[in-house]
């Protein structure tokens, strides 16, 4: 029931996962194109970057209470969700356009300057898409787990690491047009980013528990030793960070692929954890927790009778 404090659900977590990964995939493709050269990354990665963002956006529409009114989210430029919606739309379009440059069938595939300009657009817009969920959550003053700038760095790092992992997998499925040493460096970069992610989470938890408010410490303890601790310790930290860090460093495509898949699993777990653990908590007002704990869930006899009142009153 809505009396139990409700918040965002799994569809938003999945949107954050796909949008962040997709945006960062375009960032990587664009940077490599601008500073190394064209054809160094898989065309499949560029396409999937845009496709993942579109998939995330689609899921976000279904998360809305009124999906058919979803166009309204573009209406308030002061809201970060509106900025995110506009930039994500731009990134999806630019990503799809950028992908076309990989295929000679398109007459503009050899327009170098235009490709470079589109690469700039996908880098900038992709970076915003990969970052904005963290900014969105970090600005929510009453959410102790999320509030602060730390969430931005966690989301950006996770977006980048999942994007590198996706690039590794895409490169294995559809090889880049120009076989070089770019893709070969991705596992090492992924390992470095995983180490950074581990360090960021340790410091984030440390700051929340020892250097912030009591509400923030309580929220952090829910991840470390509360109801979400197993998913956090074994899912995100072990399976999603440490294990893939070791696997991607092994110079075997099989191990690297397994590591990349685990990185994606870890990225997904991270979003789910952050959304559910942070959304369940608020800076509670005096007596509010006790008050809400006493509200009906909806399956009580009197609630059923109330919900059936229309049936009884219209069938007398």
């Amino acid at each position: 029931m809505s009396q139990k404090h409700e918040g965002w659900g799994w569809m938003l977590a999945v949107d954050f996962f796909f949008a962040g990964m997709g945006g960062a995939m375009l960032v990587i493709a664009g940077i490599v194109d601008l500073f190394v050269g064209e054809g160094r990354t898989s065309a499949l990665a560029s396409f999937l970057g845009a496709a993942f963002m579109a998939l995330g956006s689609g899921l976000l529409i279904f998360e809305l209470g009124r999906p058919f009114q979803s166009w309204r989210v573009f209406m308030n430029p002061r809201a970060i969700l509106t900025v995110g919606a506009w930039v994500m739309s731009l990134a999806i379009c630019a990503g799809l356009v950028y992908t076309t440059f990989s295929f000679a069938v398109f007459p503009w595939s050899d327009w170098v300057l235009v490709r470079k300009l589109v690469a700039v657009v996908i880098v900038v817009s992709g970076l915003i898409v990969a970052t904005y969920p963290g900014v969105l959550l970090g600005r929510l003053k009453g959410r102790p787990l999320w509030v602060g700038p730390g969430m931005t760095s966690l989301f950006l790092t996770s977006s980048l690491v999942t994007a590198f992992a996706a690039h590794i997998l895409c490169g294995m499925i559809v090889a880049p047009a120009t076989i070089g040493d770019v893709l070969a460096r991705f596992p090492a970069i992924t390992a470095v980013l995983l180490a950074v992610q581990l360090l960021l989470w340790v410091s984030y938890m440390w700051v929340k528990i020892s250097g912030a408010t009591e509400a923030e410490a309580v929220a952090a303890r829910r991840l470390l030793c509360g109801e979400y601790s197993s998913a956090f310790k074994y899912g995100l930290m072990l399976v999603g960070t440490v294990l893939p860090l070791l696997l991607v460093l092994v110079s075997s495509p099989l191990y690297q692929a397994a590591g990349a898949i685990l990185v994606l699993v870890g990225g997904f777990i991270l979003r789910m954890l952050v959304i559910y653990a942070g959304g369940a908590d608020r800076t509670w007002l005096p007596g509010e927790v006790k008050y809400r704990s006493r509200l009906p869930h909806g399956d009580e006899a009197f609630m059923k009778a109330w919900n059936e009142k229309e049936f009884w009153t219209t069938n007398k």
């Binding site: 029931m1 965002w8 209470g65 979803s70 989210v73 800076t283 007002l285 007596g287 509200l295 009906p296």
Partner: protein
């Protein structure tokens, strides 16, 4: 221009929940929605020195409302007189405002899909009447009025009594004031 505010004298509140019921009746809320809960803190202390207080909660109609900035559709708005409200037809039910509100003052209507909240009974206020919860409170624990009017009771209470604002440290500048003793 008026600047509406509500003062809660929690020395007077007896936790009868009349305001909650009145609000639900006036706004025809479904069973699973409450705009203005009344929480209870206590009893605390050791017998015979016990204390218990009741805390009426509503939308704080903040001067710096995070919900308005969070709303991507412009459905959440703040009027010039300070009343924060949701324009139902613009709301898509994204819950951005629900998550942004530090006071838990917003609830989703599962039938319509939109988010709803207390709006100080703006339809009544515009007619010069009091919000329904204020009208109902037989203990006069709720006082509503224009804080820009120096002759109003809220002005005298806010400036004459020791009032506090909930979660004032967040910088939302709520316009619900509490007299606690």
């Amino acid at each position: 221009m008026a600047r509406y505010a509500m003062v809660f004298d929690i020395r007077r509140c007896i936790g009868c929940h009349s305001c909650t019921v009145a609000c639900r009746t006036k706004n025809e809320l479904p069973m699973d929605m409450i705009y203005n809960p009344v929480t209870t803190v206590g009893p605390t202390g050791v017998y015979p020195n016990l204390s218990m207080v009741h805390l009426p909660l509503i939308c704080m109609h903040c001067d710096n409302p995070p919900c308005v900035d969070a709303c991507p559709t412009g459905a959440s708005q703040r009027r010039d007189d300070g009343i924060v409200f949701v324009e139902d037809k613009k709301c898509v039910g994204c819950l951005a405002c629900v998550m942004a509100c530090p006071y838990g003052a917003r609830v989703k209507n599962h039938e319509s899909g939109a988010v709803q909240k207390c709006d100080f009974c703006k339809d009544r206020v515009d007619e010069g009447k009091l919000p329904y919860c204020v009208l109902t409170c037989h203990q006069k624990a709720r006082v509503f009025g224009d804080l820009d009017d120096e002759t109003s009771e809220v002005y005298k209470l806010v400036n004459g009594e020791r009032t506090v604002r909930l979660l004032a440290e967040l910088g939302t500048e709520p316009y619900a004031f509490y007299i606690y003793g």
